[in-house]
Symmetry: C2
Subunit: 323 residues, 2 copies
């Protein structure tokens, strides 16, 4: 046993409904994990008190381990400032995370948004091991992205870089929750897929059992299962989603020239249904010097642990650079 082998970090993923936490060692193994309700209608102070209680209980199950840092992934989190600002699904306005945790823990705290945490997780423990230039796209309710360039997360001037979900597919296109029109995430996300198949219901005469389900009840999982059963419109919806995604990722490649683009999250789990059309469209829309160079890969992080591993990777990376 070498010195430091008993060191662990706490990785936390704050979600709209639940918050996951886990202790992660230097090799990216999650040694213990737990989940608490976020209860984001209550003040942030109350949340952080409950978080430390759960974290301290969990730490007791890990005999002989020393906590050396805390990494937090959260929506609208800013690495530079250590803040969470106007998160879309939480009622907290502006949270200074290190300040909230200081009264409970005396270790370094690092904060970043969930997609950036996923990108760091892929680099340290997942599909991007050994890569210095890549993009992680998280296809969930929305479309998040984390960009790594020359081995570093790209934060930009204000710490908010990497909002590929809000690049524009069509300036007169679908209304987006952000107030703009035609954003990529209105097409390429779980909700985007549902919007697309509803559009296909209108434009096509092809029968589909999904036509019996209301807009509100229809989920991307139902579209996935229908596509597997041979539903033509469901397959077309995936085809269209991949077509749009590949086209816009070609723009990302023109900016960043990544070695790989890694797809992560619910929609990415649809496998070839989403990967095949995305890859075709990406290659077709690439500036010629980039063709046949950029790998399109699935995430290699275990689904349940990924956000916690990513948050753990964030603080391991921070500790390594601030020794």
């Amino acid at each position: 046993m070498t010195i430091g082998d008993n060191e662990i970090v706490l990785g936390v993923d704050i979600g709209g409904t639940n918050t996951k936490l886990g202790y992660v060692d230097r090799l990216g193994r999650c040694l213990a994990s737990a989940s608490i309700p976020t209860d984001a209608d209550q003040p942030a102070k109350v949340f952080f008190r409950r978080l430390q209680q759960s974290a301290k209980e969990l730490l007791q199950s890990l005999k002989g381990k020393t906590l050396v840092g805390i990494g937090i992934g959260a929506p609208n989190a800013n690495f530079r400032k250590g803040t969470i600002e106007h998160p879309p699904n939480l009622s907290w306005d502006y949270v200074d995370v290190p300040a909230e945790l200081r009264e409970f823990f005396s270790v370094p705290v690092a904060v970043t948004n969930d997609a950036n945490a996923a990108a760091l997780g892929e680099m340290l423990f997942g599909a991007a091991r050994g890569m210095k230039d890549f993009v992680v796209i998280t296809l969930g309710t929305g479309l998040g992205s984390g960009i790594v360039s020359n081995g570093e997360l790209l934060y930009g001037a204000d710490g908010f870089a990497g909002e590929i979900g809000h690049t524009i597919v069509d300036p007169n296109g679908r209304f987006c929750g952000c107030g703009k029109r035609g954003c990529l995430e209105t097409y390429c996300s779980a909700t985007g897929l549902v919007r697309t198949i509803q559009e296909l219901f209108c434009n096509s005469t092809e029968p589909s059992r999904l036509r019996a389900i209301s807009f509100h009840e229809l989920t991307s999982e139902m579209v996935f299962e229908a596509a597997l059963r041979g539903d033509k419109l469901a397959a077309q919806a995936f085809e269209y989603t991949g077509h749009i995604l590949g086209m816009k990722l070609a723009d990302s490649v023109a900016h960043l020239s990544p070695e790989a683009i890694i797809l992560f999250g619910g929609l990415a789990a649809a496998g070839e249904l989403i990967f095949a059309p995305t890859q075709r469209s990406l290659e077709a829309h690439l500036f010629p010097i980039f063709r046949n160079k950029v790998k399109l890969l699935p995430s290699k992080l275990t689904k349940g642990d990924v956000a916690v591993l990513g948050a753990g990777a964030l603080i391991w990376d921070f500790l390594a650079k601030n020794k």
Copy 2:
């Protein structure tokens, strides 16, 4: 006089027709410059022999100065490999630049594309002094771009990152020299402006003296002068160009979150005619967290010297990092 004050670098800008060279000191002053025809129909070997002759003659005019490095900006140049690969307007296939210069000079050589050189020039000597995250857009015959992120030029996995000119405005849009359709540079460049006003001639009934000029003879300068004279179609052509440019730069901001975007080159010299609509469209298409944050600035480098200063900045930067 401190040690090193007599040190200078050679900056070279290889263009399709002419090649400019100049000696640049550590403060970004061009102490002497010259120009030779590129004569790119002859082999690269012949060109580099002529280049060193001219450079050595020019150096003799600078008594007491010591050459410590050579920086080269060229189309399709790759910083990582030191190569120029299939440059669009030169007949050279693949040139290993340091190898070509080794027999004449025994100092370090660094190579990059012209837009990257301009970005370094702006960072060290121009409008981006003190900035760590910015984008330079060169609006010439085409649209080039150089991206600086966290104080470093963004090269990506293969050294070719920063091809914003080939992001897609409309997948069914104008044919581009690269073989794709709807690339940004087919709209936002000197040639793009001319294509736009021709489209306006077709779609509008508005009179314009420019209608008397053939497609071949019409230049972006003529459109600029007509706009200044009050030609409505010429003004509309600038308005449309800025509208498209601002929309696509909003995508760049979503990726990179730069502190500033710097416009450089012929079209940028049109001042408010291009800056006003670009700024309006950029703000309108930005993801809300980026609004009112990103500066849109004109280049601060003297037009004649910029490419030489940029190439000089490249090698000064290289020398500083490889001490």
